[in-house]
Symmetry: C3
Subunit: 676 residues, 3 copies
């Protein structure tokens, strides 16, 4: 449990009373009660308010807010406020300002704007964290620390350059090792002095966001920036722990956010929390996958849904309203997949600056007679009725999908063979097929213990880090099923190609050799032609993006290409390795293939979906397990009601407070939680 003080699914969100007059605060309290709000995240952007100059601290507003909220039964998620530095600091200590990827020194503005290697920023952020911890360490309302906010963005200033060189010395020891790792003899880039190394941005090696001349330096700079920002987090965290060793510390992550290696971050977080802002055209299964990834960051631990909007967003091109029921549905989706909190950005809508058209529990009209507020209040009631039943419940997946940020960086930085390859989308393809089959999945790091799983899928595992191949082999030897795809096993952790034949270190496990890799134009397709019927996987399927031209070196050929000059070469292979099997999917298949293929793998392993038969289209399933009980979630993303077969065992419908068996009707955009 995150904190024993509030033994239920926390319900609340960001709250910025400092933007409002006192009379409004009373209304807030009244409406929080109506809505069942029991947690408020405060102080997120109050640095300038609490520290008006270098030597002055003024916690009066925060004192009052915390006391007031606690008195009204609202606990506090207390932010350290270091997500945006004050204007006076930018003016007096310009080293806090970043230099951007174009090489431009920034001026004061925006948020998430501090150079992570700025001595001033580090000093002042640690100071304010310490002041807060010292002051509120014994406050009864304090539930959890929220360090900074949505860490992200890179800096390219001289302090970062110096820090980068230090980090590189640590990593490589010698310039010889570095020159080798970056292959600097290409284009005559050999470094003879550490000081010759400059940061890779548009003034040196990079352009267009993710294009680079030297993958090695650009990859390392992403590592270094993720590390530098994490250092800032850790410095504050250490300060907080000095005063409140038992209060958990988190910072809000952002799902598949590309710039930070969250697996590294999660190691230093007491609990993962994240902000869920799907676009209107984000597939439901993509959001589900993201929740599963957030759960996977700490190997299955529950997480916090720190932010979601009650209705509208403001930064998308077209910010549609969340349709009636959708906010509740998506809230339970989070809970179903491991969230122990349901929290919003924000509790009261601001009236000025760029987020004034972002939804809130209390809208600009200010009263409770709105659709949005009513839906929030109803959910608040419902969550109270659930008590602590679901808290700390776990998911028990037998299938794992591997996701890796460094692999993603390397893929995105790569020049060639195609711009059409989107790593996250390829991962999602596999996830989506399992999602539709109602099969539980864990999203795991390359370092996860695979022995917990029957099936491990590592789509486009371009980069194979030290030890991975051996662990994959051990997993398969022991009976596991391993799946990987085209363009895998190509490089090591420095993005240097493993010579001797693709897929490099995975070659003997897979029993194949990929001689060439063809890139298809977006309108071009090839075919997967099954050599024989495999449980309904038969005939011809489409594939595209990349086509590895592979030769079997022992693997069984299950399907061949149907077109082009490599017609007849293998496109799907299975290699028996010890007691297990390793599959290679040499191109990016269509949905029909994916579903049948994964269904067969699950069947081989006796893995079943959560329901006796597949749920109707648009109905999502998930399960959490705790103390011998299992909680089955049925989430109907359709506008219309759906009939779901649940089997003959009687189960308790937690929200309807009734017993059901056989089948259950889930209303349009409705939720059913069945206990058994």
């Amino acid at each position: 449990m995150i904190n024993q003080k509030l033994p239920k699914i926390w319900y609340g969100g960001d709250y910025n009373p400092e933007q409002w007059d006192r009379e409004v605060w009373k209304e807030d309290e009244r409406m929080f009660k109506l809505a069942g709000i029991d947690v408020a995240t405060v102080n997120v952007f109050s640095w300038a308010l609490t520290q008006p100059d270098e030597d002055t601290y003024d916690f009066s507003v925060l004192d009052e807010t915390m006391d007031r909220l606690y008195k009204e039964g609202v606990y506090i998620c207390l932010a350290t406020s270091t997500g945006a530095h004050p204007a006076w600091m930018a003016r007096k200590y310009p080293d806090v300002l970043r230099v951007d990827v174009q090489g431009r020194k920034r001026k004061f503005g925006g948020r998430h704007n501090s150079c992570p290697n700025s001595p001033s920023y580090r000093k002042f952020s640690v100071q304010i964290a310490a002041k807060l911890a010292e002051r509120y360490k014994d406050h009864p309302g304090l539930l959890i620390w929220h360090v900074s906010n949505e860490y992200g963005g890179y800096c390219y200033c001289e302090n970062c350059a110096a820090g980068f060189r230090t980090w590189l010395k640590e990593r490589y020891g010698t310039l010889d090792a570095l020159n080798k790792a970056w292959n600097t003899r290409f284009w005559g880039h050999t470094f003879y002095d550490w000081e010759e190394i400059v940061v890779p941005n548009e003034l040196s090696e990079e352009w267009g966001g993710n294009r680079t001349n030297f993958q090695g330096i650009s990859l390392d700079y992403r590592r270094f920036m993720s590390y530098s920002l994490l250092e800032c987090y850790k410095l504050e965290q250490a300060e907080l722990k000095k005063y409140t060793p038992d209060i958990p510390v988190t910072t809000n992550l952002m799902g598949f956010y590309p710039e930070l290696d969250y697996f590294e971050w999660a190691k230093h977080m007491d609990i993962v929390s994240w902000d869920n802002y799907p676009s209107l055209n984000t597939p439901v299964s993509f959001t589900a996958m993201t929740h599963d990834l957030m759960r996977g960051l700490k190997s299955g631990d529950p997480f916090m849904l720190m932010e979601q909007t009650p209705s509208q967003q403001n930064w998308q091109p077209y910010n549609s309203l969340k349709r009636p029921g959708v906010m509740r549905l998506w809230s339970y989706q989070a809970v179903a997949r491991g969230a122990d909190t349901v929290m919003f950005f924000q509790l009261r809508r601001s009236i000025g600056a760029c987020e004034k058209y972002h939804g809130a529990v209390i809208e600009h009209v200010g009263h409770e007679h709105t659709r949005v507020f009513r839906e929030c209040a109803e959910l608040g009631q419902e969550l109270q009725s659930l008590g602590d039943k679901l808290l700390d419940a776990r998911t028990q997946a037998r299938v794992a999908i591997v996701y890796d940020w460094e692999n993603r960086w390397a893929l995105e930085l790569s020049s060639g063979p195609t711009v059409a390859l989107n790593y996250v989308d390829e991962v999602h393809k596999y996830y989506d097929a399992l999602f539709k089959m109602n099969v539980e999945v864990d999203m795991v790091s390359v370092k996860e213990d695979f022995s917990k799983y029957d099936i491990v899928i590592a789509p486009v595992l371009y980069m194979v880090k030290p030890g991975f191949a051996k662990r994959a082999e051990q997993f398969v030897s022991a009976g596991g099923t391993f799946v990987t795809t085209f363009f895998s096993g190509i490089v090591n952790e420095n993005d240097l190609v493993t010579t001797g034949g693709y897929p490099g270190e995975l070659r003997s496990l897979l029993g194949i050799w990929a001689e060439e890799i063809d890139a298809l134009f977006p309108d071009q397709k090839n075919e997967i032609v099954m050599k024989q019927d495999w449980n309904g996987l038969s005939g011809t399927y489409e594939c595209g993006v990349l086509c590895d031209l592979i030769h079997s070196e022992g693997a069984e050929v299950l399907a061949e290409y149907g077109q082009d000059f490599y017609q007849g070469m293998p496109v799907l292979t299975r290699n028996r390795f010890g007691a297990g099997k390793a599959y290679y999917v040499a191109s990016s298949p269509d949905e029909a293939f994916m579903e049948s293929f994964l269904a067969n793998l699950c069947e081989e392993k006796g893995i079943k979906g959560l329901l006796p038969e597949r749920a109707p289209e648009g109905v999502e399933t998930a399960r959490r397990v705790k103390a011998g009980k299992e909680y089955l979630f049925l989430l109907n993303h359709n506008a219309e009601a759906a009939e779901v077969i649940i089997g003959d065992n009687p189960r308790q419908d937690l929200l309807a407070h009734s017993s059901v068996s056989g089948s259950v009707t889930v209303p349009g955009r409705g939720v059913v939680i069945l206990e058994s």
Copy 2:
């Protein structure tokens, strides 16, 4: 009358003899006569020529030009030449160079390139204006002053930053007031010292042209830049007035140009003038609306058409020729809507640099035997024959459409709810429907005296400035019809939301509450379903972009949404308020709705089109009135002739010199002016 010296519609344009040898000048004079040219705008870009260094002035070429032209019967529109600073000035006084929105200090180049807060630019521009005024104050050819050229573009240098701070102190008095107006507690941006404020550009708060983190500072910076450039104009103007208090002063505006608040500018201009460069795909009614806006800048005063091209432009992607007749047609369109001059850029085509493919009266071939010259010469004759008949004639519209630059800035800077909203296009939708009905319209500012009108339409009046709501209520109370739309009444002049329910200050006038605002994807539509037939406005129409979810608070519901979860909620309402009515159009309707809706409003008020029945498609109408006479313009934008019913009163066809009644045939791309 602009200047008694030339009591007719002025005919001429920009003339740059300094780019040519003397022998060409003689040809110019000969051809000006052939073309009926009687005014030349000179000295527009001659600063470098007349002031070759800081201490030297050389007016010899200009002296000769003015004397020569006057002798040949050509009057002078004399520019102050400050639209582009000399190279020597850029080198010696780099403060005249701008810093751009990306934060880059410019070097010498381009035009309209001076920092408006540069002390050097202000000093030198005032000096040259004074020199010119002193020298030519008694020149008999001098008709009017043309200050600088097409003011525009913003600067972000340190002089501007300092000026901005001064302007802010003036506007807000205290930092507290400023912090409140900008809502700086959002994202912890509180300022404790004026010096902490930096200009909002890509290095601080803005990106992508119109995106900003803080609407408050960005909005104020637009105000400040408009003000700063206007200050430059006013400084020169003051100097000119010292020497020639009776010579009118203008500068050439650019229609709906986004960067300057022309309503503020017009206050300081003796006459409005503007440059009309429609694209080939600009709707005719859009150009008409722009002329009406230019007329509206000074509440109906005639204006100058300062520039148009005789044929081709050069800076559009595809620069088609003006088809035969089009130059004349568009010239009369300007006159019909209030222009008392018809002037070109330019009289002789330059042979080098970026405008050499811009059309001119005298083309590169240099002689009069071109289609373009012939058309110019014919129009010159015709304008001479019109004499002073139309000069100073007025338009008498009973419908006003409100347009406001600050509202536009605030809308464009807003983050959410949609990128699809284009303020000017929404305004044009209303204008276009009235245009097709041959109903006269004034384009007016939010500060205009509404009592002159029967109907006032304020599309998307997002920002309601102090006093506006009260004046709108007075207007309706007294019997007026007021129309506004979705996303209106949201913010005050600082872009701070008016809490308590949209449409804020307009809520009681309109008798509705807008609870939510849905943003539709571009391919998404909703429906306007009329509750009953209203004079042919019946059945179902399409709407889109944004849909306000409104509740009636007294207003009569005329139509409801036909789709989505807010089906059945009001989309068109009418609120009786005192003796008048206030309409709310809660979404952006299709053309069919717009025409019937506005026809009904006009009918309620007894407002009729200019003709007994609607003019054939493509035939534009307009009317000017003077000394008891009315001049009806029929402008046929079709390639084919059109028969127009004009009613039984006999009228004088001014161009054909005949009397007509019943109907009149307007040739393809032809013009008829009927006096009665």
Copy 3:
């Protein structure tokens, strides 16, 4: 012959052994033998390796490489390595770093990254060239010098600015002349001091790549940059010639690369060499045209194919594999059009940095059992069997197409009349029609001796340089056929319009006057209506982009416009001038017109295709002639075999070693070379 030491078509490519360990070198040698490699380009990017600091040179790796290769029968194309400066140099002498078009000082990174006017770069590049020449002047393996690499890119630093001013003084003598040439009185840009001139980039006159306010300065800056880079080449070349006067010197060009005037460059190159990287959607005839241009740079001299990829590229969006046979086919295409070498980038694929997915003879797998290696080895054998037969053979075209870089710059910099005009595409339209007719074409400069040809085609010859018109007139007077098109004869070498009527200096030769130039929207077309049947050229064709509205001044009107207000005006004219004819094509015609039109011109001159009848679609023809023998190439770009009629004369099939007549079957993607 390029170098007597290797009297055959050279076969090899770029080789970077310094990126590999010694054990790999042995494998290289073994595989080079298998592949028939006899030339290796080395040292291209080894500057940092051979000169680790300012005072140290270390040639040990290069010594070993050269000795080793020579011992194994591989000759050396020795690069001077100045295509990328070392990191230490960038740090110690930052003047070697460029300032980019946005005005940003670069840091160390990339390649082709040195400022061409940097004193340090010039000093160090000349030094390293001298060191190399001195050291290897007597090395028996040394075949040719390869200076730097793919020169290109512009710099805008203060050293370049100073150099530009010096170059301008040289070109114009006085500021008066310069002001006149740039027409600086436009927009008041008159310069009174040379120091006032700044470089034209995004901080001054340019934006968006090719847009400029002042064509004059921008055009001159392109000339100056081409000159500056050429100066760097010449400085190194001079050094090399001191030590090895008899070793040829080249640098690798890039076909239609826009930034350098290769006609100027070729004057200083002993042999032209170039890198051929067509996109997958580059038309075959475009590649053919590019080869012909490279041959035309030195008036028909054979050239080197310095680089091509054995299979994949890496920098295109979708990097498809070269299909089986395509590498051989394209290699022979180069030879057919004048190449005396077939060389690859590169011999062994690198494992790190941005070109690791670029194909190579030896792939990452490292052995010879790959499709790509097999194809390379087979070609190696074949080329050996051809011996010196084709070396130094020439092409004998009777048709020339004029191409001019300065004309291209002026067209691209021009503001108006259309953005749709692509000079190279217009040139290619004419080339393509002749290509399909199997007619040989020379691509020539505006300064070429036209008397060698029967037909000279100069599409869109916008800029007419001094002397050209006279030479064109002499050519036609003497019986030649001259063709030019719309938007020709407009400006002089300074982009100043020739007044008095388009097409300016070409007007009397063409016997027409172009009064206006209409620009069509992309979806707009006009028609070419033939006045009478001319050998099958009859009826109506489409045209677009631009339409000159012309009047005949003596020329015969062959076709008229079919639409719009200029319907009936001439669109195709023929002017008899002396003994010849000058044609004017007043718009951009469709393919059908182009083929019939050019067929007629060829027929008038008795010019025939290379075959008795037109080759099947997709079959390319070319011919080289040497010592009374002719070599006819048949290149089948189709996937399927094609039957080609070759006539009754028996010919020797060089690759099949058989005698053929009548017709010959060319396999899909196959090549036949017929000797007769």
